[in-house]
Point group: C2
Chain length 215, copies 2
């Protein structure tokens, strides 16, 4: 495939295409037209054609898209043809929920370490992964190549731990702490700010009610 | 405050302003200039002035913004001056993590019920909230006004449960299931698709590596 810059808006939509195509594959669907995909995804067919044209002529007139080919190509663009070693720092409920999420592993994200400061958790295993103390992080990073560190710990501790991770060679952080991390530019950070999502919800509820009250 | 339409892009940024202003308040800061806020938030001062002008002249020349006033006004816009009754459907690790998140309650989101299909969880309490069986959902919805239902269950079950929630009068859903819910238009849905977030991360890792390899 030719290397070219794909707009950020398209990239944002790719995981959703990937999800739908995966479901089609699971259901044994081999090809699909942009119109059918449009019905399922509630995106216009023209938007779909435009988005998928970015990857160079996957669709064929009168045939539609080859589901498996498209799925694999989008997977490659998203980096899902590789395996990532993941650690989870913060082994509370949220950290354990992520460790237990089998689908991540299927997609190539392998959790190989969990860390916490809570001594009661030491030695506990989640899906076979032993929870270690945060003091063991440094030697662990020296012995293992870690592609992604997940931060599921309180915001007060997040920045300091993130700095230690980066010093240990980690280049990508999936951040669930409710704070913006200030890290070197070459470190990739993907934030999941749950409280901001909840505020969007309460905003929409409020707007909706105002609409109904004719305000 | 005058009612006027605020762009979606601005709304998306409000929770982040709210978070920063809350931190300033916690630290006893009473007023702040757009330049100082700009340094902290790594957003340009002009963007900040433009965003906050939407709410009508909160800033004063030579004085800056009154932190508490701005915090409260943004809170009102986001609907955080109200209290929301929340239930969590799916009481696994993720559901329990959300129930345990004290800060949500401080912001007015009160979890008053948890439901699951796993009989082993029945009667277990999370922060005092008893986990009930999904069969108890209908009577619970008849007896309680629920403003937000959180879906933390497998995608196979999500749509069916969502329909039952809507039939029971729920108008807003915070959806963590990896599926798009097809619900009546007047139901507000806020999705948190964790696997899509993880794919954004792997995409960025891949792009970054290609950049380094000169590809």
């Amino acid at each position: 495939m030719e290397e070219k810059e794909i707009s950020r808006a398209v990239i944002k939509r790719l995981p959703r295409y990937y999800r739908y195509l995966g479901e089609l594959l699971d259901n044994g669907v081999e090809r699909i037209s942009s119109n059918e995909l449009s019905d399922r995804m509630q995106v216009t067919a023209s938007q779909i054609r435009q988005d998928l044209n970015n990857f160079g002529g996957f669709g064929q007139q009168g045939y539609g898209y080859n589901v498996k080919y498209l799925y694999n190509e989008i997977g490659k663009i998203l980096g899902l043809d590789k395996t990532y070693n993941v650690i989870i720092v913060g082994a509370g409920n949220l950290g354990q929920a992520l460790a237990n999420y089998v689908k991540f592993e299927k997609r190539g994200f392998r959790v190989i370490g969990m860390f916490d400061v809570n001594e009661n958790l030491v030695g506990k295993r989640v899906r076979g992964i032993e929870i270690k103390m945060l003091d063991d992080l440094k030697p662990f990073l020296e012995e293992n190549e870690i592609h992604i560190a997940t931060l599921t710990l309180p915001k007060q501790a997040a920045e300091e731990v993130a700095v230690r991770l980066v010093e240990g060679g980690v280049k990508a952080i999936w951040n669930f702490a409710h704070t913006d991390l200030n890290l070197p530019e070459d470190v990739i950070v993907e934030n999941v700010h749950l409280s901001e999502s909840l505020m969007q919800l309460s905003y929409n509820i409020t707007r909706h009610q105002q609409g109904k009250n004719g305000k």
